[in-house]
């Protein structure tokens, strides 16, 4: 019994660590975008390196949890759902990293007049991811609270879409070359996509939460 409880505690801590990493990655993404916009490129590259590290850790934790759940035949009824959530959440970190890598490679020129809109879009997307992390934690411990967090994810996703659209309109209103406009639009879409990903995980989570209800 004590050994089994130790095992469950280990898996619980692995899942919690995984979600911590997702949350850290999202916040680091926000800081990295702020650094980029304010031209602190050295700091931006450091953030990117941190996120690469988070991505590796998240992968390792996810695989470790998967292996444990299968090897110990834990939560047979919900195992597929839990693994699907972890994998979908892991993809958000991948997207965060890919977006920053693109910034690092392409170095798009940001017009200072749009700085605020870029930051607002980023904050909305990151808030969506943070609420997703709360929702996933609640899925494991407090099922009744899941919908509350899911509702907030949907809110921030809409907010990110709304500000993102405004940003894209402003981009195409700038007096710059069309190719630069298209490049900036893609970056805006990349940032919006993070909140879309969070929303997609929530769609799954909402169904899984219904399945888990008695």
């Amino acid at each position: 019994m004590a050994l089994l409880l130790k095992t469950t505690r280990f898996v619980e801590s692995q899942i919690d660590s995984f979600l911590d990493v997702v949350s850290d990655a999202a916040m680091t993404f926000q800081l990295a975008i702020e650094d980029y916009i304010h031209g602190r490129m050295e700091q931006f590259e450091e953030r990117l390196a941190q996120i690469r590290e988070f991505e590796h850790r998240a992968d390792d934790l996810r695989v470790s949890v998967e292996r444990f759940l299968y090897e110990r035949t834990l939560i047979p009824e919900n195992r597929g759902d839990v693994l699907a959530i972890l994998e979908s959440t892991d993809e958000i970190i991948d997207n965060i990293k890919d977006t920053l890598v693109q910034f690092s490679i392409e170095m798009p020129g940001i017009d200072p007049t749009l700085n605020d809109l870029w930051l607002q879009t980023t904050r909305a997307s990151v808030a969506a991811v943070e609420q997703l992390v709360y929702a996933v934690r609640s899925f494991f411990r407090d099922l009744a609270a899941v919908n509350n967090h899911i509702h907030k994810v949907y809110f921030f996703e809409r907010e990110a879409d709304h500000i993102g659209e405004k940003l894209r309109r402003m981009i195409f209103g700038l007096d710059i070359h069309l190719s630069e406009q298209c490049q900036l639009r893609d970056f805006a879409l990349h940032i919006e996509q993070i909140s879309d990903d969070a929303q997609n995980v929530c769609d799954q989570l909402a169904i899984f939460a219904i399945k888990r209800q008695l």
Partner: protein, 496 residues
Amino acid sequence: MFYIYLLSGLYLGWSLGANNTGNIFGAAVETKMIKFKNAALIAAIFITLGAVFEGSGASDTLGELGSVDALGGAFTVSLAAALSITSMVRSGIPVSINQTIVGAIIGWSLFTKRLLDPQSVVTIASSWVFAFLLSAVIAFALFHLVRPLINRSKMHLIKQDLLIRYLLVAVGAFGAYALGANNMASIVGVYIPVSPFKDISIGGFYTFKGTQQLYLLGALSVVLGIYTYSHKVMKTVGKDIFRLSPVTALIAIFAESLVLFFFASRGLYNFLLRHGLPTFPLVSVSSTHVIVGAIVGIGLAKGGKNIRYDILGKMALTWIIAPILAALMSFVMLFVMQNVFEQKVQEETHYIFDRVTVTRIADDICDIALLSPVNGRSFTSEREIYGELKTQEELSRDDIVKVIAVSEVFPMEVSLEKLAQSGYIHSFNEEQLEIIKTLEGRSYRHKWELRDALEKHSVFESVKEPKTGLQKNHNKELDNLFSLLYHSFRPGTGKK
């Protein structure tokens, strides 16, 4: 010869192991919460324990329905019950061993022209419906108790999973114990009156009774059923009949186990009696119907959607069809057994209305004038006497039953040696044995003569007009002790 005849009972046991274990562990195995090998081991151990230690509770009620007193009869009754199950299961109708065995015993009573006790039939039949409803109510209540508990506990999913696993094992073990206790009477209960097993004293500390040995054998056939066929059935039960989550499965199994236990435990029965509380009849009920009742309860607690009313309809139908089919089959097979294979399906019984019995009846039961249709005559069946006496309007059915009991010829010779040889000696205390010893060597022609001789002593004294449940239970226990004496002192018994 007994062991060959016992085969049909063991076949029933095998089918209980194969079919009914799924009602306890089906959902847990199918949801992969418990591995089959673990479920089978737990079921095997606890069904055996339940059968050996509590199995006798439900057998008393079956005995009241008809005490099959010949090996050939017991074999045929079991076989008829088993074949009825097979034929109905093949038709896709969920049926239980209890219903068919009850039907088969009724068939035996009809064939042997015994009087059927309508009260026992009503008790048993109403218990099936009552057990189903009770299980639904318990599951409904448990659901409303467990859901807020789980929601409030905020326990991690992984920890909750582990806890439910342990609870499924514990509740499954309890369910298996209750199944063994409740259903063993249906499997080998009919063999009790003809069982050759004798009580064995283990080191003077514990007496392993003859009935317990018979139940152990029955339990082993159940275990065989579990290991050879139940895996397949568990998968079906866990998937097709109902689809439950581990938590709702736990609630359903717990409700089922409680109901099976309520209807099987003599300990609980005595406890309730002592405290003046209403008791549950000790009757064998169907684990299939009880688990379906629990699922209906959970379904209703969840709003009443997705309840499969077709299964409920079929089940209600079996409450009527299964006993009738088994009774018919039993009747026909007993006829074939007796007339084609020339096997004894009942002990020959004589009823005589001579000076001794008529005087006794006149003293205790009714006016001598009412016995005019039977006075001075002898009979070979209860039904014949009943046919003659029912014309007497002043005689109630109960009176006629008492008259028949007094007129039954049952020669016996009191012998402590015979009692020891029969193995039943351990059922009596020192004081009772001392009283029996004072009658050593005496012969009696009727059961009541021996009973009268013993009832003069306080240790054998019954309550004349029992009012409370406790008094009724005291009389019932005395009846059981007297039955052991009749069985032991009959010529030809005790020296097998």
